[in-house]
């Protein structure tokens, strides 16, 4: 189950967002997309999810063009969690998760009984929300709420899960909780996870593959071990950083200072 783009280009109101992006996201892997603000990360993710149709080039899901797959059929194979989601005030966790079954329903066929229930149960279990099912989403903490949204995406039973900065606004423990859920989904269900991350250390610790965007294109792609260097960080983010190995042997980045002169180039 691979998702790939060929010569992808996007412009919004004459402004170039992505240019000639050809990239393959391998199946059954966790891939993190990182890069400075304005590099086109979110746009790339939206296009991969089929939310945006105004682009040049091709986006292929298992060799099939994305725009040729029906919206509902696509939602059964691929789920996306954008940023800044809001739910109606009185909605319960279970009802929110149940919305994940929407792509399996039609105008007249409003329920699939057992299959729906099992998918919802499984999603609640995997995100540790079984005891929260009757709680209102609005009264949950930030971390619990994010897990509820992930559970909704899981109820879609997707092969590919796309997430746009899933740990924003969460404290450290809840950030790790989210990343560990994603790791478990990848391991237990061979789910392909593609996520935009702003925390490079999360990417280093929890991603099998890194995709680095800069200036509307791919700067590098590969395993963290292979592509993470002090020079790469300096030229992509304009930051001088030290790289350590943590107690688990994973690379950890510690920013030290802004590289003189680099910041200006980035803004251009």
């Amino acid at each position: 189950m691979a998702l790939e783009t060929r010569a992808l280009g996007v412009s919004i109101r004459g402004k170039e967002i992505l240019h000639n992006v050809s990239i393959c996201f391998p199946g059954n892997k966790r891939t993190a997309i990182i890069g400075p603000n304005g590099a086109g990360k979110s746009t790339l993710l939206r296009i991969l999810a089929g939310l945006e149709h105004n682009y040049e080039g091709k986006v292929l899901l298992d060799g099939q063009e994305l725009c040729g797959i029906g919206r509902k059929a696509l939602s059964r194979r691929l789920a996306i969690l954008p940023q800044g989601m809001t739910a109606p005030a009185d909605i319960t966790v279970e009802r929110l998760v149940d919305y994940g079954r929407f792509p399996y329903r039609s105008w007249l066929h409003s329920s699939n009984g057992k299959a729906d229930r099992e998918a919802v149960e499984c999603a609640l279990r995997e995100t540790g929300l079984r005891h929260f099912r009757d709680r209102q989403v609005a009264e949950l903490s930030g971390g619990e709420r994010q897990r509820a949204w992930i559970a909704m995406a899981l109820a879609q039973q997707p092969e590919i899960l796309l997430l746009d900065e899933p740990t924003t606004y969460l404290d450290i423990a809840h950030q790790l909780e989210v990343m560990q859920i994603l790791t478990k989904l990848n391991r237990d269900y061979q789910m392909t996870v593609i996520m935009v991350l702003h925390d490079i250390n999360h990417a280093l610790q929890y991603a099998d593959e890194l995709v680095i965007l800069k200036n509307h294109g791919i700067f590098a792609q590969g395993t963290p071990e292979k592509i993470l260097t002090v020079d790469m960080v300096a030229s992509v983010f304009g930051v001088k950083a030290d790289i350590f190995l943590n107690s688990r042997g994973k690379a950890v980045l510690s920013p030290v200072s802004i590289v003189p002169g680099k910041k200006h180039e980035m803004i251009v």
Partner: protein, 336 residues
């Protein structure tokens, strides 16, 4: 604390929702029967049953069958249509202030209806169809103005405000040029049910049936739409298509109601909110609740508007706003 009571909250919610729906249904029935009973000639309940069954030729039968019953049916259908229309638009536009005014129903119907009334008073019978055409015309016009790579709620709302202001100027101009004939037009602008009978029932009920069915079929789609466009698309909802179809349904529901009773405000905005504050945001429950509450509110209000200052009859629109707005504020204070 919340965790311990949460276990059976799901079933409790369902029971509560059914309970509320039953109460609203009873309320609608009470409104319906009260509206037939009360008036310058009081009619006992038993006779209503007999007259409707058609096995009594008593002196009240004429009053029931030709005056009270059709008027009550019109009131109920108008309540249902406007309330449903408002509920749908609030979901589609994701704006709590959305109501049939927003998509130009009132200004379009107002201009055309009042033009017929003032400029061509000899063609009074043409008011309803003209108002319907005006309402749909304004709605379509706003739609096209707001269209730019799809429909954005905020563009519809702003285009609606602009078009309504434009048409409103036309209404004001007509009222000033024909100030000697303004009385009927004023009554119509507030919305009233006086002298509404079977022909009016026949105009509205097809829209209530079809519109009601379509909105109920769309309930799950409206639910998903409330999660935001991005999430809704990600779940496989065709957001633009849903928005277009549901707005069209809402426009037809409101236009049919407005063309018959005039510019009845309030119901389309406040009844859906009141229903939502009481029963919650799940459109599968909210839509029937809104329809029932709409029917109850209009039939009851019309009953009171007819009887409180008898023999003078107040237009139902005035009565509803005077009583309903404070009640709504009470709900709002309690909930928030």
């Amino acid at each position: 604390m919340i965790g311990t009571i949460s276990q059976d909250r799901g079933t409790k919610t369902l029971k509560r929702q059914i309970c509320i729906l039953v109460i609203f249904a009873v309320l609608a029935c009470v409104g319906f029967i009260m509206s037939i009973m009360k008036g310058s000639v009081p009619i006992p309940v038993a006779e209503i049953g007999q007259a409707v069954m058609g096995n009594n030729a008593g002196m009240h039968e004429q009053i029931i069958m030709n005056i009270r019953l059709p008027r009550t049916i019109v009131a109920a259908l108008v309540g249902i249509n406007l309330a449903l229309s408002g509920a749908v638009l609030q979901a589609v536009m994701k704006n709590p202030l959305a109501d049939p005014h927003i998509i130009g129903i009132s200004s379009g119907a107002g201009l055309m209806g009042i033009m017929v009334m003032l400029v061509f008073p000899e063609h009074e019978y043409f008011v309803a169809p003209a108002a319907f055409l005006g309402a749909m015309g304004a709605a379509i016009c706003i739609y096209f103005l707001a269209w730019k790579n799809g429909i954005r709620p905020i563009r519809i709302i702003l285009a609606g405000v602009a078009v309504s202001a434009f048409l409103g100027a036309g209404i004001s101009a007509l009222l000033i040029f024909y100030s000697d004939r303004v009385h009927g037009a004023l009554m119509w602008m507030v919305g009233g049910l006086a002298a509404r009978s079977w022909p009016h029932v026949n105009i509205i009920y097809p829209y209530t049936l079809v519109g009601g069915l379509l909105t109920m079929l769309g309930a799950r789609h409206l639910n998903v739409l409330q999660l935001g466009d991005e999430v809704a698309k990600g779940l496989g909802l065709r957001v633009e298509l849903t928005r277009i179809i549901m707005t069209a349904v809402a426009a037809m529901l409101a236009a049919s109601a407005v063309s018959v009773v005039g510019l009845l405000g309030f119901v389309g905005l406040i009844v859906p909110h009141a229903a939502r504050l009481i029963i919650g945001t799940d459109y599968r429950c909210l839509l029937p609740a809104t329809a029932l509450l709409g029917a109850a509110v209009v039939t009851l209000s019309d009953t009171f508007a007819r009887t409180v200052f008898a023999p003078t009859e107040l237009p139902v629109g005035i009565f509803m706003a005077v009583l309903g707005a404070p009640f709504f504020l009470f709900l709002l204070r309690r909930e928030l």
